[in-house]
Symmetry: C2
Subunit: 223 residues, 2 copies
């Protein structure tokens, strides 16, 4: 996000930034509160979750480093629409949100960098809306697994799920029993699981079933 | 979006903007294509829809004037993740996207105005993710109806649906038979319908069932 900024601007950003180390399970920001800081995750994993008025809860995303969150709230000074919680020990930068907004109003390079970042955030959220509207739970799981595969040309793949299945179910917008059924469905398409280990025997077959988005996002690694 | 910009900047924007009148059913932008222009809707209604690789289709939003769409694609020059279609005759401004991006890179006021606009777009998409993840179809319909009620203090309300039920079902992310069941469920909470006419006999009761978001969005009218 900051890679094209000049030396002087980076020093001004540095003056409003702190490095923090936090254990797992720490609430970083609570839905409804106005953000005091913008978080940049350097190490670890954090969950962004949405809570209904009756207490029902859903994990909208699990963010992986290096990334920022939740930029739109920090930029507008409007209340968080999601809560953020560390799910592993995390190393984070915190940038003071009001000072960041002041800096943006005088620094064109920073404003355009932020414009690119929040536009890409918007697109990630549209992809999630597409996922929730157009795919079954089994297809969503298939797309999730396909996004974990780094060697595009391979026929098969083998990797570990990055977090436990309860969290994965919530991330995919389904209950744990639906996730189990989704894994059972994917068995017919060559997906084998042993606990957190996933073996995809037929990547092409899984793609044909799951129908991942055909539109690539340049420069954005799969999350 | 442009209200705080200076005279000179507005003239430069004017030079890359055209006014267009289009009939219903016209495709304004197609998923996967790089946007040539940013649309500003002045009159009429347009639908933003997402299409799966197997042709399944879902209406993500029906935009009402005055509003822009799809800003993030126009700002980044990345392909549309949704298609846009006029659903009534529309009066639109079209702003040349490459020229707009050039102008943003020299004009701080324009960059910060766009930053506010795309941040609010992001928040609208997060609200949609919340809606799809946390609410049943009947609750989504309830929230949709509540958002149409302008007199917050009233006990009852009476209004027409702004478009036909097939489109409403798609907008709410459900099939038409699910929408009929959702209307039937809401009857128990005092919602009466006669074709496109809706009578809400007990706004408080509908709120208690539908659990709309409690976080207000300052300056953004319900869409």
């Amino acid at each position: 996000m900051f890679e094209r900024l000049g030396e002087l601007l980076l020093r001004r950003l540095d003056a409003i930034t702190e490095l923090t180390q936090l254990p797992a399970g720490r609430i970083l920001g609570r839905q409804g509160e106005v953000p005091a800081v913008l978080y940049i995750l350097l190490d670890g994993q954090a969950a962004l979750s949405a809570t209904a008025a009756d207490g029902a809860d859903s994990v909208v995303d699990v963010v992986q480093p290096p990334t920022h969150f939740i930029l739109a709230a920090a930029l507008t000074g409007l209340p968080y629409l999601m809560s953020a919680t560390t799910i592993t020990p995390c190393r984070l930068l915190t940038i003071q949100a009001p000072a960041l907004r002041s800096l943006i109003h005088t620094e064109l390079d920073l404003a355009t960098a932020m414009l690119g970042a929040v536009s890409r955030d918007y697109r990630a959220m549209v992809r999630q809306v597409r996922d929730l509207r157009l795919r079954s739970a089994a297809q969503r799981l298939g797309c999730y697994l396909l996004a974990r595969i780094t060697d595009e040309g391979a026929g098969t793949a083998r990797f570990r799920l990055p977090f436990e299945k309860a969290l994965l179910a919530s991330r995919l917008g389904c209950r744990q029993d639906s996730l189990s059924r989704a894994f059972a469905t994917l068995r017919d398409y060559g997906v084998e699981t042993h606990g957190g280990l996933v073996i995809v025997h037929d990547i092409a077959g899984l793609r044909a079933f799951s129908l991942p988005d055909e539109i690539e996002e340049p420069g954005v690694p799969p999350a």
